[in-house]
Symmetry: C2
Subunit: 118 residues, 2 copies
DNA sequence: CAAACTGTTTGGGTAGTTATATAACAGTTG
DNA sequence: CAACTGTTATATAACTACCCAAACAGTTTG
């Protein structure tokens, strides 16, 4: 199953769904052109609400990772193919930060800070 | 003034305060051993609540960027000296992601995802 | 020591987020 | 057309984020 959630986690369900898809793309388990399982199927399989899954899909659409059209579903864009490379780069950066004694939280805030400036 | 906030921004005030300090450290305007202005002074100058400033300082402490003790104030740690380097690395990463057509939001989620795994 | 600083603790109010449920709507596919 | 897809609209409950207020307790300084 591509998408998994942990109901006991404090991480929001919709965020877990989105993270599953990103991880799948980063690992090459899903590729550009592939269709994600329908929101209704995911909702039924994971025992979460339809809107919770759609919220995750819409976030991925806002990030440019998927396109969505009714009747057709959510399809991975070409941008998803670059996730593997960037994923490796981020892992490197996290390691470098760690060596310098900076926490991943610090790193995350810096990224967010820079992101917000643009 | 090292610390600035925009009351009309949708960014939380405490996050703006913390971001100001990080930016100051990244730019070398403040260095390890320097004391941040007292939370009460900042609160009065920016017209925000004392706790809003302290919330920001505590976040920075949780990130390992400052140490705090009552009576003494918040003091920058050595970790702050590495912010400049990492800041440059993050800027590079953001540019690389941009070239690949990935939004900074996507990047931020990946960093968060990796951070959460550890 | 005492006054004047510093962060800490406890408490509470408001607004926004998260997740749910139900229902109807509107393109797309077979 | 029938069976799928996401979209939109409402409503509700629980929870969290954010901000503020007053009293508290170390530290420094005169």
């Amino acid at each position: 199953m591509l998408i998994r959630v942990d109901h006991s986690s404090d991480e929001p369900l919709f965020a877990q769904v989105a993270a599953s898809v990103r991880a799948g793309a980063a690992a090459g388990r899903i590729r550009p052109g592939d269709r994600l399982p329908s929101a209704r199927d995911v909702a039924a399989a994971l025992d979460v609400n339809l809107h919770t899954v759609l919220r995750a899909y819409q976030d991925l659409r806002d990030e440019g990772l998927v396109t969505m059209r009714r009747g057709r579903g959510a399809v991975l864009t070409d941008a998803a193919s670059h996730l593997q490379q960037i994923h490796r780069d981020v892992l490197d950066l996290v390691d470098r930060a760690r060596v310098l004694g900076l926490s991943t939280d610090t790193l995350a805030s810096i990224v967010k800070e820079i992101s917000d400036d643009r």
